[in-house]
């Protein structure tokens, strides 16, 4: 009496209120058991830290709504004021927007250009489209980042921080190929549009939105922007194709686009689907804790069985 049930002792681990010789469950001696338990813990601890909860980026965080930008490409005049404002706001080389020769080529964002305006030849003539980070609701880059340097802020901005390791997994994982890496620097950074997060925290609009002279850019909550976009499509059904790019693409994005021509014609991928990118690696991540718990249990089991066999053989004096 007074001795705790062996099962309870098992759970309490470090409790010293028991005598070793009583601890003999299922014929496993204490030493073997503790060894197995140690192995189990060694596996389970790193395993539990890898248990995937919900994704960091949720559509609604702490009662706040994601902010976004609606780009109406039917209104864009290709003046590139947004490019200039962006460069000024973030201390990057300011482009000469009087020089229209850059529009000859389709450009991509770069380490010194977080946003670019491209000109596309379409069924309805020349159309301009601004490109930058889409600020996904559930960004691939954020779930790719192993140090949380890439963050989805509560107001919807996807930002980069300097605790980054420079592994460039975010670049692999971005469906829009937005993060750009400073290859020619010994202390390289990832460069991408931050939705002017610093300005947002001060209650200001993104610089590009403020600079747009044609009201092609609108800044608001994502919900309001989708309503506004739908209103425009209903009112002027001939003017727009009936699709808001970014409403559902890759699970929804902060930047939303309206267009008068099919989106392929103005340089958008329309084959990305509506599943958010972090979902694609979720299956694997969910298997991690399962494998880390079941596999060692199985291996220890097999190991124990094979050793018993040896024991029996030697006890019977059998041939080996």
């Amino acid at each position: 009496m007074g001795q705790p049930h062996p099962g309870l002792v098992m759970n309490r681990g470090g409790n010293s209120n028991w005598r070793g010789e009583e601890f003999n469950l299922m014929g496993i001696d204490r030493r073997t058991f503790l060894k197995g338990l140690g192995t189990g813990i060694a596996v389970a601890v790193p395993g539990s830290s890898l248990l995937t909860g919900s994704l960091h980026a949720k559509e609604v965080v702490a009662g706040k709504e994601f902010m976004g930008v609606l780009v109406d490409t039917t209104r864009c005049i290709g003046c590139r004021s947004c490019e200039m404002a962006c460069a000024e706001a973030h201390g990057m080389p300011v482009p000469d927007i009087g020089d229209t020769s850059v529009l000859e080529k389709t450009r991509k964002t770069s380490v010194t250009q977080w946003t670019v305006v491209n000109r596309y030849k379409t069924d309805k003539g020349e159309v301009f489209a601004k490109k930058q980070c889409m600020h996904c609701n559930q960004p691939g880059c954020v779930s790719a980042c192993l140090v949380n340097a890439m963050k989805k802020r509560t107001d919807g901005a996807v930002t980069w921080d300097s605790n980054c390791m420079g592994c460039r997994f975010c670049m692999i994982s971005c469906p829009f190929d937005i993060p750009k890496f400073e290859y020619n620097s010994a202390a390289p950074k990832i460069q991408k549009c931050s939705l002017c997060w610093e300005r947002l925290t001060k209650g200001q609009k993104p610089a590009c939105v403020e600079a747009c002279p044609a009201e092609a850019l609108a800044f608001d909550t994502r919900r309001e922007l989708i309503e506004e976009a739908n209103r425009r499509i209903y009112r002027e059904s001939g003017k727009y194709v009936s699709h808001i790019y970014g409403e559902r693409e890759v699970g929804g994005t902060g930047y939303l686009y309206l267009s008068g021509v099919p989106f392929e014609q103005i340089g958008f991928r329309t084959d990305l689907g509506t599943t958010s990118y972090p979902e694609f690696s979720k299956g694997f991540l969910y298997s991690v804790p399962i494998v880390l718990l079941l596999w060692p249990a199985f291996l220890i089991g097999v190991n124990t069985i094979t050793s018993r066999k040896d024991e029996l053989q030697s006890r019977e004096g059998g041939k080996r």
Binding site: G38, S143, F169, D177, Y277, F284, N303
Partner: protein, 410 residues
């Protein structure tokens, strides 16, 4: 009695420093053809590594915004880790299934696995733009637990420790530390269990890195089953490497290997080939199923389709068949050919997913092709690993028998 042993240990500890100093000196000839070729490459590689750290990745590599990962990831890490898979497969066979047949090659295989992780997974360090932050995922500014790469970073570290523990009895035997040897030997099975669990996940995890590259990896290669395929292929990649590496080292270190082991070696090769053949068959079958379910028939009649067929038939189905034939006729030439083909298949597969079939629409002129400096650094990493392997194998009981006192405790 006890005091005698204690005194013995004390004296040993004092001698160990002297012993290590004597062991550090090179054994054997310095000016061998291998050394003459490899030393300058290693030296040049070391200079380039410094250059890369000072000037940034762009100065040394051909990486671009379109191709963020080159051969340091696609070859060094992806292929290196797959080839190191032999360690977890063989430790499973030897320590879990307790098949004594392969006991004589277990240490060489574990050592190879350990060094592969140190050097090839270590290549990640060179590839990190902000390498001084390499420890961030470990002590955590913040843990990116949703990242597959977070899992891989942790697993690489833990697996290296597990492999080191598995190999450590050899170090203790080398130093003649009996008590330590006994203690480390008792850890082996635990390390093996942890090691196998970790290997399963990070071998698959390397494939899972490309899950979010949907739309960038050619549909013939992109499947939600890439992680499973990576795991299954690491089984025969690892075993093929054991066959290939063993064929070389059995010549190089033949003086250390006892006569009986030489005789048993052919048997072992046939056994390993059986494992390869079955694993490859499973892999091939899975690939066929995935292909049929993917409904990509039209893609076969494109240049990428021909390349896909080359990989699947030439570098999976054929070596698989050769392994089966090699086992059937106990033909070592067939077995070695199969192993080399299977290894080429793994190299091509990992490069396809990370580089060749990655953004396949980009024209040839704008595609990533490794710079000579990337190749030299990769060669230097491989050659340094061989040097370290040789240094250890020449000193510790890797191929040769353990000292008599250790065999008793084993």
């Amino acid at each position: 009695m006890n005091t005698v042993i204690a005194a013995e240990e004390k004296r040993e500890l004092k001698d160990i420093a002297v012993f290590i100093r004597s062991e550090l000196k090179p054994k054997g000839k310095l000016l061998t053809p291998f050394n003459i070729i490899s030393a300058p490459i290693i030296l040049l590689g070391a200079i380039l590594v410094v250059y890369r750290l000072v000037k940034g990745l762009g100065a040394v590599t051909n990486l671009s915004q379109e191709f963020p990962w080159g051969i340091w990831i696609g070859f060094d890490v992806m292929v290196g880790v797959a080839f190191a898979g032999g360690a977890y497969v063989l430790t499973f066979v030897v320590y879990i299934l307790r098949s004594d047949k392969y006991h004589s090659i277990i240490r060489a295989t574990v050592l190879n696995g350990l060094l592969a992780y140190v050097f090839y997974a270590g290549a990640i360090f060179l590839d990190l733009g902000r390498w001084w932050n390499i420890a961030n995922p470990l002590y955590g500014n913040e843990f990116g637990v949703n990242s597959v790469l977070f899992l891989i970073a942790w697993h690489f570290l833990l697996y290296m420790i597990a492999e080191f523990v598995e190999f450590s009895p050899a170090i203790a035997e080398w130093l003649g530390m009996r008590k330590l040897r006994k203690f480390l030997g008792s850890l082996t099975v635990g390390a093996v269990v942890v090691g196998i669990a970790l290997s399963t996940l990070h071998q698959a995890g390397l494939g899972a890195l490309f899950m979010m590259a949907k739309g960038k990896v050619h549909p013939l290669w992109y499947t939600e089953f890439i992680p499973v395929l990576f795991f299954v292929s690491s089984i025969f990649a690892g075993l093929s490497m054991v066959i290939f590496e063993g064929s070389i080292s059995h010549r190089v270190f033949s003086d250390k290997i006892s006569h009986e082991e030489h005789a048993a070696y052919d048997d072992m090769l046939v056994g390993l080939s059986k494992g390869c053949a079955v694993a490859m068959f499973v892999y091939f079958f899975a690939q066929v199923l995935i292909f049929i379910h993917g409904w990509h028939w039209a893609l076969l009649n494109t240049p990428m389709g021909y390349w896909y067929l080359t990989e699947m038939i030439g570098l999976v189905a054929i070596p698989c068949f050769l392994f089966f034939q090699g086992v059937r006729y106990r033909n070592l030439l067939l077995i070695r050919t199969a192993a080399i083909l299977a290894m080429i298949g793994i190299i091509i597969n990992r490069l396809n997913i990370s580089i060749i079939a990655f953004k396949w629409w980009i024209p040839f002129s704008e595609r990533y092709f490794p710079s000579w400096m990337e190749i030299v650094i990769t060669l230097a990493i491989i050659l340094t690993e061989v040097w370290v392997f040789r240094w250890i194998a020449n000193r510790m009981p890797v191929f040769g028998k353990s000292p008599a006192w250790a065999a008793e405790t084993h």
